[in-house]
């Protein structure tokens, strides 16, 4: 087979990249080698179109124990000799094709990133985006994704403690499935994804390798599949039971002290794990691919190199201690074989039945080594001019504000996600304290200590679409705000950057400005970006998805008993809005979904106002002057008040503020605000402690809701409407009536 630029193109490498490969090798690569480059230089593995901008993010400092990108996940110090390991990753493309397995393997993959570092995962979160809920396709994708996440996470035994879901037509063809895992590790027991020591054995553990997921990271070339593997499933298949055993075995094998380095096999399978571990250690490897356990006969070299079969690990052990390692995996009934050894020359030599089938310099394959890095051009998108034209005066304040509220509380992006989260085991592990006492960010206990972690995922992509720079600052701010509202100190960020095609200058503009906004906000909150994932090409002939830079954030509570909850506590408590109440309906769910205005600017946001609010909230919580704290987000003040009332079925009587549109007061999404309640006896001390704008808006009631003196029903009715809205959409016979209500 002659290897030409055309072959390279079929493998999604450009002509220039093919020339670069020839230059680096000093010869024309064979097909196996070209496949290796195709996987490793894919967007997914090489970050070739994003790394330049990612490097501008704050990527060290604070409590970070490893620099961003150095290991499989971020690692931060939380004291008591412990570290928190966390990361978020996308599984968008597989989930679009096969939602159940796509989502399931997304969950499996992110947990592996955590335990390959020696940490035990204790919490998982997700961030999901779908098209409009009334569409059959959305319902199919939603039910498959939820089932997949539940199937994997419930069996693996890590609680799903939080997440977010939005429904917007931009995700109709390209749903987003981002999964995050958070784990705990003892200092000194972390394992690095580094290969070291000439002659040390390279071991392959976990499931046997099959032809599933080949090219998942890089190419889905019709020519390749037509020629070689017509029936390959494009999507990997997950086995959570196998992964659960792999978790226990990996944590146990680390205790032997015989492990030099370990890396999970995710995208680009064996080639990626061998290349990255070797490059990092400045070594090479000699691998006998015929020793890799396979579940299909006659797998070819390139298939073995690229297979993305799940639940596999590459492990480098100390020479002479192979048996200790094998004993642990035998105990857990997991295959474990020595497939090669570490060499000194920096070359990856892959043998098949004694024949050298591929010989590649490890460093040339990887990000930071030989992988290309590109500057992409970008240009302000035309739609931004449309957005700038919006005049709020063009929208009249509705007469019947209660009827509007009834629509808003049932909007799919706002209503309770009960139908979804009850399908996830949220309590296994006995660390999730937010089940019985709700909080803005999920608060999980760190067993054996008094500490807690506050964890959250956030991104309102409509704001990012309207203003990529400001919208991404809002995403970071909301994550930090949720943590602060729960009594935590924000520590660090992991990001999942979901965008369209980076070769489209307008999409790239969104990406560049999102990164700039993220960097600025993260620097202000002292929350470095510890790692994450870039997912480009979330695009179809109708266009790209809304730019969605999902923020996963972890915060720390030194004493978990000091956590703050979001629910109203008692009738008679006084309700305040902290922060500026702005005359702003921009980009709100209300404006978009109820008024039908597609283009409007991002809502009011000033980074310094946000910072001041968070500082104020933290000190109020510490001085115990507030009884509940809930940040104002989608749906505005009214939805926030309802959410605070639901847990104890308490209502509220509030007054709107003069000089502000009533719809803006109730449903506007101007940023940097929180609803807090204060016991009557503490009102004076509370107001004296405030050094940011605030407004006393009302009082907690036993259940009735009143707005400007008008009776709006009782909290149980609003709760029932909120709880059942999504279920009503999904119950087919009710779909019609729900649809006409919106």
């Amino acid at each position: 087979m002659e290897i030409t630029a055309k072959t390279a193109q079929q493998l999604r490498l450009t002509e220039e990249e093919f020339e670069l490969i020839k230059q680096k090798l000093g010869r024309t690569p064979n097909f196996n080698e070209l496949c290796a480059f195709s996987g490793m230089w894919s967007e997914h593995c090489s970050y070739k179109n994003s790394i330049k901008w990612l490097k501008t993010l704050p990527r060290e400092g604070g409590r970070m124990l490893v620099k961003a990108g150095e290991e499989n996940a971020g690692l931060m110090d939380i004291g008591d000799g412990l570290g928190v390991v966390f990361k978020i990753e996308s599984h968008n493309h597989p989930s679009a094709i096969e939602p159940f397995q796509g989502a399931a393997t997304g969950v499996g993959g992110i947990h592996r990133d955590i335990f390959t570092m020696g940490a035990r995962p204790i919490a998982s979160l997700n961030s999901l985006r779908f098209g409009k809920l009334e569409e059959d396709k959305t319902q199919h994708l939603l039910s498959g994704v939820v089932h997949g996440i539940g199937h994997y996470g419930n069996c693996f035994g890590v609680p799903t403690v939080g997440g977010e879901i939005y429904f917007d037509e931009s995700y109709h063809t390209n749903p987003l499935v981002n999964a995050m895992s958070v784990g705990i590790v003892k200092n000194g027991e972390t394992v690095s994804a580094t290969a070291l020591g000439k002659g040390n054995p390279v071991m392959f553990v976990g499931s046997a390798t099959g032809k599933d997921g080949i090219g998942g990271a890089s190419f889905a070339s019709a020519d390749i599949t037509a020629e070689s593997a017509q029936d390959l499933p494009a999507v990997q298949v997950g086995d959570p039971f196998q992964e659960k055993k792999l978790l226990e075995a990996c944590l146990e094998v680390i205790q032997t002290g015989a492990v030099v380095g370990m890396q999970d096999m995710g995208a680009a399978g064996i080639i990626c794990s061998t290349a990255e571990m070797s490059a990092k250690g400045g070594v090479g490897m000699r691998i006998d691919l015929d020793k890799v356990p396979t579940r299909q006969s006659e797998m070819k070299t390139w298939e073995l190199l690229l297979s993305e079969s799940q639940e596999r690990m590459l492990l480098v052990a100390e020479k002479g201690r192979e048996e200790e390692v094998k004993r642990v995996f035998e105990k857990w009934d997991l295959p474990c074989s020595v497939i090669g050894e570490v060499t000194e020359d920096g070359m990856l030599d892959f043998y098949m039945n004694g024949e050298l089938d591929a010989s590649l310099p490890a460093n040339e394959l990887v990000l930071g080594g030989g992988a290309p890095q590109y500057d992409r051009e970008y240009r302000e998108p035309k739609y931004l001019a449309e957005i700038a034209k919006f005049k709020p005066e063009s929208v009249a304040v509705p007469e019947d504000l209660k009827a509007i509220a009834e629509k808003i509380i049932a909007l799919p992006s706002i209503a309770s996600k009960r139908w979804i989260y009850t399908q996830y085991d949220s309590m296994v592990g006995t660390v999730n304290t937010s089940t019985n006492t709700p909080t803005d960010a999920a608060v999980v206990a760190v067993k054996g200590t008094t500490k807690g972690l506050a964890v959250t995922t956030d991104c309102n992509s409509r704001y990012v679409f309207a203003d990529p720079y400001k919208g991404t600052m809002i995403a970071v701010s909301e994550a930090a705000r949720n943590i602060v509202c729960s009594g935590g100190l924000p520590l660090g960020v992991t990001n999942c950057l979901n965008f369209g095609n980076p070769y489209d200058p307008e999409v790239y503009y969104q990406f560049v400005n999102a990164i700039k906004g993220m960097g600025e906000a993260c620097r202000r909150f002292d929350t470095p970006v510890t790692g994450g994932n870039v997912s480009f090409y979330n695009q179809n002939p109708d266009g790209p998805v809304n730019p969605t830079p999902t923020i996963g954030m972890v915060g720390l509570l030194e004493d978990i008993r000091e956590k703050m909850t979001l629910d109203f506590k008692e009738e008679g408590d006084i309700i305040y809005v902290l922060g500026n109440i702005t005359d702003d309906i921009n980009s709100s769910e209300y404006l978009h979904r109820v008024q039908g205005v597609k283009y409007s600017p991002a809502p009011h946001f000033e980074l310094e106002e946000e910072y001041a609010l968070q500082q104020q909230l933290a000190s109020l919580i510490k001085s115990k002057l507030v009884r509940s704290v809930h940040d104002v987000s989608e749906g505005g003040v009214y939805v926030t008040l309802c959410e605070s009332g639901f847990n104890r079925e308490l209502g509220f009587s509030v007054s709107t503020k003069g000089g502000i549109r009533k719809d803006a007061f109730l449903y506007g999404e101007g940023q940097s605000r929180a609803i807090v309640t204060v016991a009557l006896a503490n009102v004076q001390a509370f107001e004296a402690a405030l050094n940011i704008p605030f407004e006393k808006i009302g009082v907690v009631s036993s259940g009735e809701i009143a707005v400007d003196g008008d009776f709006w029903g009782t909290i149980d009715w609003w709760k029932d409407t909120y709880d059942t809205a999504i279920e009503n959409y999904l119950a087919k016979e009710d779909a019609g009536s729900a649809l006409t209500a919106i």
């Binding site: 069996c155 693996f156 039971f241 009850t422 296994v428 592990g429 006995t430 304290t433």
Partner: protein
């Protein structure tokens, strides 16, 4: 008394049970490996716990493989000698599969996994808030068995609402006669779908599970 918690491959509530017994209830607990058989350290005063999870992946039928594990053979012997055995969730499924308890746990009526707080009531009319988390928790037995269970007072928990009423809505999985937990005729083997170990710690904001474990398993010791 001592507790032993059996660890099957795929058990995932084993550590939660261990933590609840050890740290929240101050009990003496050890972990037991599914490939071992030795229960010689345990007397009939002690209790063996089968925890929740997905033993052996539960790919065939929940608990169907676990019943054949070496440790289960010893647990069955132990139970037959009068030793206490307590199965929660997957543990309850294993007890039914192994014949230590009558009936079976079927796929939830709505075909979905469910995880949430539910209320259950014991024969003393006490109501507890306890979480469930299962896909196959719908208790089923034939009419005759059910009548016998009720006649002998072997139904130890039923799903109810907050006020103790046995309503359809309060039944999370469609279990026959709202049954959430049962015991055998000898009253030394107990199985329940809800997870009391998830409601034992102050920090989780629910300690109803402590009383369940104490009254069910430690009553004898409390009397002493």
């Amino acid at each position: 008394m001592k507790f032993g918690v059996v660890v099957f491959p795929g058990s995932n509530c084993d550590r939660d049970m261990f933590d609840a017994l050890k740290h929240d209830l101050g009990q003496d607990v050890t972990m037991l490996w599914h490939k071992d058989r030795d229960l010689s350290k345990f007397t009939t005063e002690d209790c063996i716990v089968l925890p929740g999870g997905f033993s052996y992946g539960d790919y065939l039928r929940c608990g169907a493989i676990a019943r054949f594990s070496p440790m289960m053979q010893s647990v069955i012997e132990f139970a037959n000698k009068g030793g206490k055995v307590f199965g929660v969730c997957n543990g309850f499924q294993i007890l039914c599969e192994s014949g230590l308890l009558p009936g079976a746990l079927l796929r939830n009526a709505n075909q979905q996994f469910v995880c949430k707080n539910v209320f259950i009531k014991n024969s003393s009319e006490e109501v507890f808030k306890i979480p469930v988390a299962h896909g196959e928790g719908r208790y089923y037995a034939d009419e005759q068995t059910l009548n016998e269970l009720e006649a002998n007072g072997q139904v130890i928990f039923r799903y109810c609402d907050e006020n103790g009423q046995f309503t359809k809505d309060s039944n999370p999985n469609g279990a026959t006669r709202n049954i959430a937990g049962i015991t055998n005729a000898q009253r030394n083997v107990f199985g329940m779908m809800p997870h009391p170990e998830r409601a034992c710690s102050d920090i989780l904001g629910n300690t109803d599970g402590r009383q369940i474990i104490e009254t069910l398993l430690m009553a004898k010791q409390l009397v002493h």
